[in-house]
Amino acid sequence: MALVKMTVNGQAVEYDVPDNTLLVSFIRETLELTGTHVGCDTSQCGACVVHVDGQSVKACTMLAAQAAGSEITTIEGIANGDELHPMQKAFHENHGLQCGYCTPGMVMSAIELVEKNKGLTEQQIREGLEGNICRCTGYHNIVKSVQAAAQEMGG
C-alpha cells in the first residue's frame, strides 16, 4: 500500500491505496470526484486530463503514488463558486459540447494551452487539442469555444 498525500482543488487529502492505483481511479473512486472521465484504455482520448502542478496530464497514465506531493486540479476545481471558469462559459455559449463525455478533459487541456500560449491561431488550437478525442461535435465548436475563452482570458 502507498500513503498518498496531495492537494486536490486546494484541499489536502491523504489515503492509503494499493500501489497500482491509477491517479484517475484515485480521483474518481477514492475522492469521488467523477467529473474526470475515462474514455479509453490506450492513453489516447484525453477524457481524463487533469492538471498536476500546472501541467496537463492524462490521469489514466499516471499512478496516484507518482502524483503524491503534487497540487492537482480537476474539472471540479476551476469554477469560482457559482461563477463558471471562462473556458467553461465559452464551451456553454459556443455549443462546444454535445454528450459532454470529452468535455472535462477538453476544458482542462484547453485551459493549460491558453494559459501557456498567447495569440493562438486556429491551427495551433487544433494541434494543441490533439490529445483529446470528441466523437460528437466534429471539433468546430470546440475550437470556437477555445478561441472565445482565449480572448476572455487575455490570450
Binding site: 494499493p18 500501489d19 489516447q44 496530464v57 497514465t61 487541456s109 490533439e130 483529446n132
Partner: protein
C-alpha cells in the same frame, strides 16, 4: 493492472540495486508506454522503480554536442533554447511526439529504452551518431538499436543520458499515424562532417535503420531530385493495418525529399 509495488529510486545506483533485487523489476520514467501496457496486462512487474528523483533530468551544451538527461521530458526538449539553437531538428522532433499530455510526461530515456519501431527519437540518435550513456558504459547509437523493441541494454542497465553531436544541418519529417501520432514513416536527415546520414523509423521490420542508397545519392548531390533514382526495397519493410510495405517505401522517398528540402 496486476498488483505491483512502487518505490522511488534516490539515485542511479539505488535504481540498479532495486532492479537487481526484484524478480521482474521495471524502471518507471514518464509512464507513457509502460503504464498503458501494464493497464492492459500486456506487461507485468512486481516492482516499479520511479526514476523521477534520481537526478537524471536536464540539458547541457558540451561544446561539440548536446547532452540530454534520460528523465528529460519531451516538452523540455521541445522548448529548450539550447536545443533549438544547436539542433533545431531535435526540438522539432520532440514537439511532434504524441500530444501535449504525452510530451508533458514522456522522457527521452524511456523512448530510447523502449525502441518502439514507430518512435521518433531512435531516428535522431542513428542519423546524428548519438551516444547512449548508461550507469556502466557508453554505447554508440549504431550498436545500440538491435531490433524491434530490442536494444543492447542489459536487464538491469539504466540509461543516464544521450549525447547528440551538433550537425551542420538536420531535419526530421514524419508522416504520422492519424490516430496515434506515432510515425507511420519518419525520416531524419543529418549533414555532418562525415557525410549525410538518413535514418528511417516507423517502417523497418527490425526497427529503425539507416538507408545506404539514399545516403549515397545525397552524398553525391544534396538535393531532393537526386533521390528520384534511388530504389527503396520494400521487402524489409513492415506491412500492417496502417500501411503496406509498398506504401511505406513510397513514404520513405517522399519524407526524405521533404527533409532534404527543409535542411
Amino acid at each position: 493492472m496486476y498488483a505491483t509495488t512502487y518505490a522511488k529510486a534516490k539515485d542511479v545506483a539505488d535504481a540498479v540495486s532495486q532492479l537487481k533485487g526484484a524478480d521482474e523489476g521495471k524502471l518507471l520514467a514518464g509512464g507513457q508506454t509502460l503504464i498503458p501496457t501494464l493497464k492492459q496486462r500486456l506487461a507485468s512487474s512486481d516492482c516499479l522503480i520511479d526514476l523521477s528523483d534520481a537526478g537524471l533530468s536536464g540539458i547541457s551544451d558540451e561544446g561539440g554536442s548536446i547532452r540530454i538527461g534520460a528523465m528529460t521530458r519531451h516538452v523540455e526538449v521541445e522548448t529548450s533554447e539550447m536545443v533549438k539553437k544547436a539542433i533545431p531538428a531535435l526540438a522539432a522532433l520532440a514537439s511532434g511526439i504524441g500530444d501535449r499530455q504525452v510530451r508533458n510526461c514522456g522522457t527521452i530515456g524511456g523512448s530510447v529504452a523502449n525502441n518502439d519501431p514507430s518512435a521518433c527519437y531512435p531516428s535522431a540518435l542513428l542519423a546524428l551518431g548519438a551516444t547512449v550513456h548508461t550507469d556502466r558504459r557508453d554505447i554508440a547509437a549504431g550498436d545500440y538499436f538491435t531490433g524491434m523493441f530490442e536494444t543492447a541494454l542489459d536487464e538491469d542497465e539504466v540509461i543516464t543520458a544521450v549525447s547528440f553531436p551538433k550537425p551542420e544541418a538536420a531535419s526530421y519529417v514524419k508522416f504520422p499515424n492519424p490516430a496515434s501520432r506515432y510515425a507511420m514513416v519518419g525520416v531524419f536527415v543529418a549533414k555532418t562532417s562525415s557525410g549525410v546520414a538518413v535514418a528511417v523509423t516507423g517502417a523497418g521490420q527490425d526497427g529503425v535503420f539507416r538507408h545506404g542508397g539514399l545516403e549515397a545519392a545525397l552524398n553525391s548531390s544534396f538535393s531532393a531530385e537526386s533521390i528520384d533514382s534511388v530504389a527503396v526495397d520494400d521487402s524489409v519493410l513492415m506491412s500492417d493495418m496502417h500501411a503496406s510495405a509498398d506504401y511505406r517505401a513510397h513514404l520513405i522517398t517522399q519524407m526524405t525529399k521533404r527533409a532534404v528540402a527543409a535542411c
